[in-house]
Amino acid sequence: MEATIFYMLAAVAVIATAFAITEKHAVHAIVYLVTSFFSLAVIFYLLGAPLVAVFEVIIYAGAIMVLFLFVIMMLDLGHPEKAKRPGRLEWLPAAVLGAVILGSILVLVTAHHPALPAGVSFGIRDFSLLLFGNYGIAVEVISMQLLFALVGALYLGRR
């Protein structure tokens, strides 16, 4: 049952991403990407990461994509007739490169099957203990980085 849902959501994510990267209209691409992120969030939940799933919806689909939409509308970029769409001449070499890389990834992934130990499950409590205990330094560093990003965005955005 859960495996079936996983494969369906994987198909939804891949198809939505494919539409997003071939879409000429930037706003439509963002909406397709939100669809893809929602299905990825449910995949995260199925893989045993409810907190990451919730943050995927809140931060990615909620904040980052809305930031994209905000910038697109503020700069008035939503005119697909003005945008230059890449032709077949640009898709072909990129598709060849992507096929080569994807083929090598598939070969490497499916080449050897190590005997994986069965993992123990854990809850949000263990997650929080690990995040603020072992990785406290990382939390501090990432908060400093967010502060620097704020200062940089303010500097770039001033008139």
């Binding site: 991403t17 963002i30 893989l47 700069l75 499916t110 690990l130 990003a149």
Partner: protein
């Protein structure tokens, strides 16, 4: 683990390649380049979460959370840069920004 780890890795690989294709194909549009980077970072997060689900440690989820915070910092700066560039040249076409001093 509901599905084999290999299937998760294959899905993440397909998504990563799609992000890479987006960056390669739409290299003259700043917004689409940023969208491609988002797709690639999401694929990386999927690998971390899949590994955490396979081996049963929460470390992968912590790293996924850190990637998310990193992405939000990166996107805010990148979109501020897009606004800045658009203010200078009234376009987001990367071919227009070819001179060092302007």
């Amino acid at each position: 683990m509901i599905v084999p780890l290999i299937h998760v890795l294959i899905l993440a690989g397909i998504l990563f390649i799609m992000g890479l294709l987006c960056v390669l194909v739409w290299r003259s549009n700043l917004i689409m380049i940023l969208i491609g980077i988002e797709i690639m970072l999401n694929a990386a997060m999927l690998v971390f979460v899949g590994g955490a689900g396979q081996w049963g440690g929460a470390d992968g989820q912590v790293f996924a959370l850190i990637i998310m915070a990193l992405t939000s910092a990166e996107v805010s700066l990148a979109l501020a840069l897009v606004v800045y560039l658009h203010r200078r040249r009234k376009t987001v076409n990367t071919d227009e920004f070819s001179d060092l001093k302007g």
